[in-house]
């Protein structure tokens, strides 16, 4: 019983991070039909920037919590600039190209960013400065930490904020209109380029936040960490119905929980043949099952009605 609760808590934490990253995929896809495979690398760079900034500030004697906030802010700003630059330099020139071209470019950008990060930060694992107090809580036999609570609360608040932005502001309305019919949106006076740039910038900011949280959760980071994280977040977006915001949120949390439960019980399920280090397979089983039986995802519109 307590292992069930424990794994659900762990899954919720990991799932909140997937959800934040999945939003970056889904916003860009929703507005321009592009799967930005470089998004995982944006998250990775966000994590590494925060390590560098927070680490050197701590070394310079700044209080840990302040340095952490500075690291987070630097990471968010760096990722927003990176997302903006990616769209401007790599994707905008391909706006009218066949769909495959920007997709391949996205894969190319992901390789470029990974190598760039390797050149800057090296090949070794970097340890994340722990800027949060280590407090443990117990609930019905399950343990959880302050950082886990913070991750879930911050993610939920941020996602609530995003929904307000998209459904209650003029920019959000312009984004939804552009996603449905860019030509008509521009007739209404919407600068399509700005709206698309905004989707990239906002998605990247969410990714940076997720990157900093995942870094402080596992206290470790690496130039290749964006690959798996990105792939799983993409899976979460597909599970929820790519292009749909609420879908990405729900898909992320569900995937986190499925994975955690899978990891918790995989030993029992396979009679000890596979251990919890095989937990990654669950994400991809989910991806394959969704693609086979419900490619439009939980909340997705019917394919073809992407607009």
């Amino acid at each position: 019983m307590d292992i069930l609760l424990q794994q659900i808590i762990n899954g919720l934490v990991q799932g909140s991070i997937y959800a934040l990253v999945a939003l970056g995929y889904t916003m860009v896809y929703g507005i321009m039909g592009l799967i930005n495979f470089a998004h995982g690398e944006v998250v990775m760079i966000g994590t590494l920037v925060s390590i560098t900034v927070a680490g050197s500030l701590i070394e310079a004697g700044m209080p840990v919590s302040l340095a952490g906030m500075a690291g987070l802010s630097a990471s968010v700003l760096a990722c927003m600039a990176l997302g903006w630059g990616l769209e401007r330099i790599a994707y905008r020139p391909l706006r009218n190209a066949p769909r495959l071209t920007p997709l391949i470019t996205a894969i190319g950008m992901s390789i470029v960013l990974q190598n760039l990060a390797m050149m800057i930060w090296g090949r070794n694992y970097l340890t994340f400065p722990s800027f949060l107090p280590k407090i443990d809580f117990e609930l019905a036999g399950a343990n959880f930490t302050a950082i886990q609570v913070i991750i879930v609360v911050v993610s939920a608040t941020t996602m609530g904020g995003l929904l307000l932005l998209v459904y209650r502001t003029k920019l959000g309305m312009a984004m939804r209109a552009t996603a449905q019919n860019p030509a008509v949106a521009s007739l209404m006076g919407v600068n399509i380029n700005r709206v698309i740039a905004a989707a990239f910038v906002i998605g990247s900011a969410l990714g940076a936040l997720a990157g900093v949280m995942v870094g402080s959760y596992y206290e470790i980071a690496h130039y290749q960490m964006g690959f798996m994280l990105g792939l799983k977040a993409f899976t979460a977006a597909v599970l929820g119905g790519i292009g749909n915001l609420a879908g990405a949120m729900l898909g992320g949390v569900l995937l986190g929980i499925i994975e955690a439960l899978g990891a918790g019980y995989i030993g029992d399920l396979t009679g000890g043949f596979l251990g919890s280090n095989y937990q990654d397979i669950f994400a991809f089983v989910v991806l394959i099952v969704v693609l086979m039986f419900k490619p439009s995802g939980l909340f997705g519109e019917k394919t073809g009605d992407r607009a």
């Binding site: 939804r176 209109a177 449905q180 019919n181 008509v184």
Partner: protein, 234 residues
């Protein structure tokens, strides 16, 4: 008010519009009629900067607009109601109207304009919270016209407002078009339904394979034997 000179529009090798020249004066309703594929929509799209003109000039209120960005056209005072309506299916009727007022920042003005639109189209008020995609074709056309009015345009470009609508709905839409015109709006109207277009315009141009082949007062064109034979089915 609108001066189009020597306008060319081409799609790859296809010459859709071949050097046409026409004008629309302030307060006028001018019709542009012609068969399928004559190049009517392409002409409107070039004016609204949805497609690039391959040649020629477009001036609006003495200002050259043939090179401005598409999203700037509405700020100059030109609102296009596109062929096929182009409502945002997954936005509500209210949101569609607010999108029409995207360039207006004063909430009070937007609210006031919304009432004006609802006065023209009471049906839209009843459907205000409904998703635009669930409206009937006629209601969507009302919404598309109402949305265009929300930007307080100086000139309306209407691309086949009667397309695919039952006669009774066509009548309703054109009543409003006439009312809007009577309130002083300048209108360039494209129609398949030549009789209707000629009946509610002062002047008209007839297009055939990318060129203007006839023009004149609508009342005279209605009596012209060539027009009657080719476009009025007599």
């Amino acid at each position: 008010m609108l001066e189009v000179t020597g306008l060319h529009v081409a799609y790859g090798g296809i010459q859709a519009v071949r050097s046409i020249t026409f004008h629309v004066g302030a307060g006028e309703t001018v019709a542009l009629i012609g068969a399928n594929g004559a190049g009517k929509s392409s002409t409107l799209k070039a004016i609204a900067r949805v497609v690039d003109a391959a040649g020629g000039d477009i001036h609006f209120c003495a200002e050259k607009i043939s090179r401005i960005a598409a999203h700037e056209v509405i700020r100059k005072g030109i609102a296009l109601v596109p062929e096929g309506r182009g409502v945002f299916a997954r936005l509500s009727v209210l949101e569609n109207l607010r999108m029409g007022a995207y360039i207006c920042d004063a909430a009070a003005e937007v609210a006031q304009d919304m009432e004006t639109v609802f006065a023209y189209f009471p049906r839209l008020k009843e459907r205000a919270r409904q998703l635009a995609g669930t409206l009937s074709g006629g209601e969507q056309q009302m919404l598309a016209i109402g949305r265009a009015l929300m930007s307080r345009p100086k000139m309306l470009l209407l691309d086949e407002p009667s397309m695919g609508l039952a006669p009774i709905m066509v009548q309703k839409i054109f009543e409003v078009v006439r009312a809007v015109a009577a309130d002083g709006m300048t209108i360039l109207l494209i129609e398949q339904n030549a009789r209707l277009a000629l009946q509610c315009s002062q002047r008209a141009y007839v297009m055939e394979s990318g060129e203007i082949v006839l023009n004149g007062e609508s009342a005279k064109l209605l009596d012209d034997p060539k027009v009657r034979a080719a476009y009025l089915g007599e």
